[in-house]
Symmetry: C2
Subunit: 461 residues, 2 copies
């Protein structure tokens, strides 16, 4: 495959399936050589596209280290299914070829019994590394990190350090080698340098002369959002993880940080759409699991919406005197919801990327009040014109609609901007302030504002 | 600072400002040494927190290469302001210290005249590299890439290649050194290896024996979403960029990919909230710029909402016969919008991360139809009970509400899931199908469904 054709392309993977199945049938021994040129991620796409009952046979036809690479890229479910259906020895052989962090990640997706069996079948060192990583919550720095990093002592000379690094590189799959960490005699992280800087160092220099002491690190207990923020803020390719004493315990490579950023973002977007975050991709999540994650918010919002009926009932006398008022109820309601969704989304995102914080609440309030007035005035003018043009009502009806629109837009904007801050302040994820949630809060207010304005201006009861 | 204290913390940066300003006053010569231990990103936070009129003085007190590092982390506006107020020579000196891609990025944020002046003041090689990068659109692979990558010929021996790499590492700031690219005699990319693999290679081996030929690359014209997807799919730390002939022209480092992912996500989230994406962080964007980017969608949605009034007007006879029907209009409307926002958000995200595609439309339709029926039935039952308990209406009114809720939920769910696919199909960003947009489409449908059901079941005109 030439580089130009190399694309993230599921359909292409599906096209390769028949050839690969035929090869598996006729000459399974050639499979490894024939697929050697393919990237493990592409081969994983092929596996995901093949009939599930052939997956085991295919993966067993690959050498264990190649199978391990492919399995790392498989989706969780397919991987778990495969590993639970081979013998414990086979599973242990494949898993021991993985990097320590992937090993822990994979074991976490298996049933506890299976995971324990495989774990006890791993070689001693691999088992110990993996057990250490399994102690951390998957969404923390400890859960993301690998123990396969390289650290050298600060007192070493550059050539000695380079020899250690070369030995480590030859010894196995040490993935976190983009940064070389420097420690003191107690294992405390005191410096960092890139492999490039170590290579470029003049002969005879000491590690301590080459290293940077401006270290950016995270605690093992830090959550993955913090890891993502630090990586992006400081442009890192690997983040060292330290314990409470400042001793290095692991490193997080940037590929895992990117995965964390994308997952975190998916959760945020789903919350914004009033869906409890799904654990799996769209088609992988089961039908009833999705129903369950949607129904919670729908019921909350539906019960909230019942209050609109209560509010409406309170104005039935007014409606009796001027039935045409009901014509504009849906318009007024959406006039508040939309300008409310906008600042809610802006603030939720600004909180997520660190552009605003709780302390900015007053500044945000003032700014959004201004925005609400400006936007409300624009919509009110349009509303007035449309009411006058589109209906046969007198100018004072247009004024009722216009004035209600201004007030509702202001209320919506202020509620939409303050709600995420309030949620953040009390410890909830601000992304809970989804557009539907903000809209439903503003709906009732809209009805009250509208009928109150109508009553006062038109002298109704 | 110990690693544990090292946090992404704007307030801490602000606390350091008085000390740093005092130092600048009393002993500007000591400033470089006193701040040496700080990470450039942290120092940039300090600069952002200091009075704007002191920024120039502060940055000029740092050595040019240090100032260049700090400036790379500054926000665009402050950076442009500084560079437009120093002499062209000073600006050129600082900018020539940057990596080629950052150089191009910075020049792009300046006024054209200033950028041209600085460009012509750069050393020849730096100018040529930068001019080449400036030809590409900022949001493409070409715009993200740096020309500071290292490529070696496949025919070289490992030791020769290592010597070349060491020479390159010593020659200047070659940032993209996590991967070493291998080319043929025509400069076409034929392989890749990590610096680690080169180091670990047995003596006497050839580059061609060590390299991987499973290369993942992007075209210079590929957009940044494609770059992000490839990086995340294949767990890369750097993506090589090739021209139409497969010749390597640059490399994108993962820090720039992360920035691109975060920016892309911010834009998507803002579109989901019916805001045209802002170019700047929340407080940096000007008040009227934000108004402008919000008003477009608000006006579209407001005019759309006017159709709800038209629909309502069509049912005034029915309302005349049973005024209580209007009580449930807001409830019915929000019953369609919320279940519509959910699948819209799920599908938009699934399209963005590549979990679904246009070809899945029928499968999605069937699945969402099922979801709509299941969710609609749940809400209808709750609705029926609430109408019976909360109002003094007969059971048949409850049935009207319940039946309308089922139908509206189904319509909302199907519209919400199909709309992003339709937008994607015709070449729009599917994120345009924001919750407010979906809700506003479903609102009119909700009114029509509700009054149609009421008329048939209650025998009204």
């Amino acid at each position: 495959m030439t580089p130009a054709q190399h694309k993230h392309d599921r359909p292409i993977a599906a096209l390769l399936v028949p050839d690969i199945l035929a090869l598996l049938e006729e000459a399974p021994g050639d499979l490894a050589a024939e697929t050697e040129e393919m990237h493990a991620a592409d081969l994983a796409n092929v596996v995901e596209a093949m009939p599930p009952e052939r997956v085991g046979e295919f993966l067993r036809a690959l050498p264990p280290n190649r199978a391990a690479q492919v399995i790392e890229y498989l989706d969780d479910e397919l991987r778990a299914e495969f590993l639970e259906h081979v013998t414990t020895e086979q599973a242990a052989e494949i898993i021991s070829e993985m990097t320590p962090d992937d090993r822990a990640d994979v074991l976490e997706t298996l049933e506890e019994k299976t995971a324990d069996d495989i774990l006890s079948d791993l070689p001693d060192q691999a088992r110990q590394e993996t057990e250490k990583l399994l102690q951390f919550e998957p969404d923390t720095a400890g859960g993301l990190m690998t123990t396969g990093f390289v650290a050298v002592e600060q007192s070493l000379g550059v050539e000695e350090a380079l020899a250690q690094v070369r030995a480590a590189a030859r010894s196995g799959r040490r993935e976190a080698m983009h940064a070389i960490y420097v420690v003191d005699t107690d294992g405390r992280l005191v410096g960092v340098m890139s492999l490039r800087e170590l290579l470029a160092a003049p002969e005879g220099a000491k590690v301590a002369d080459v290293m940077h002491t401006e270290i950016v690190s995270v605690q093992a207990s830090a959550d993955r959002e913090e890891v993502a923020r630090v990586t992006s803020e400081y442009d890192l390719v690997a983040v060292p993880v330290v314990d409470g004493f400042g001793r290095i315990v692991g490193a997080i490579t940037v590929d895992d940080v990117i995965d964390a950023i994308v997952e975190e973002q998916t959760e945020d977007v789903q919350r914004l759409g009033a869906v409890q975050p799904l654990d799996d991709p769209y088609f992988v999540a089961s039908f009833w699991d999705v129903v369950r994650r949607r129904i919670v918010w729908l019921v909350v919002l539906f019960i909230g919406a019942i209050f609109t009926s209560t509010a409406m009932q309170g104005y039935m006398t007014t409606v009796g005197q001027a039935a045409w008022l009901t014509v504009f109820v849906p318009l007024i309601i959406s006039s508040g919801g939309n300008p409310g969704s906008q600042p809610a989304t802006l603030i939720i995102r600004a909180l997520a990327v660190g552009d605003v914080e709780i302390a900015d609440a007053l500044r945000i309030f003032i700014r959004e009040l201004g925005q609400g007035i400006a936007l409300g005035a624009c919509l009110a003018i349009i509303g007035f014109v449309l009411v006058m043009v589109g209906t046969e009502h007198a100018a004072r009806f247009g004024v009722v609609v216009a004035l209600s629109v201004v007030l509702v837009v202001v209320v919506g904007t202020v509620v939409g901007s303050m709600l995420p801050l309030l949620l953040h302040r009390v410890g909830f994820d601000p992304a809970v302030a989804s557009s539907p949630f903000v809209a439903s809060i503003v709906d009732v207010t809209g009805i009250i504002v509208y009928f109150t304005v109508a009553r006062s201006l038109l002298g109704l009861a």
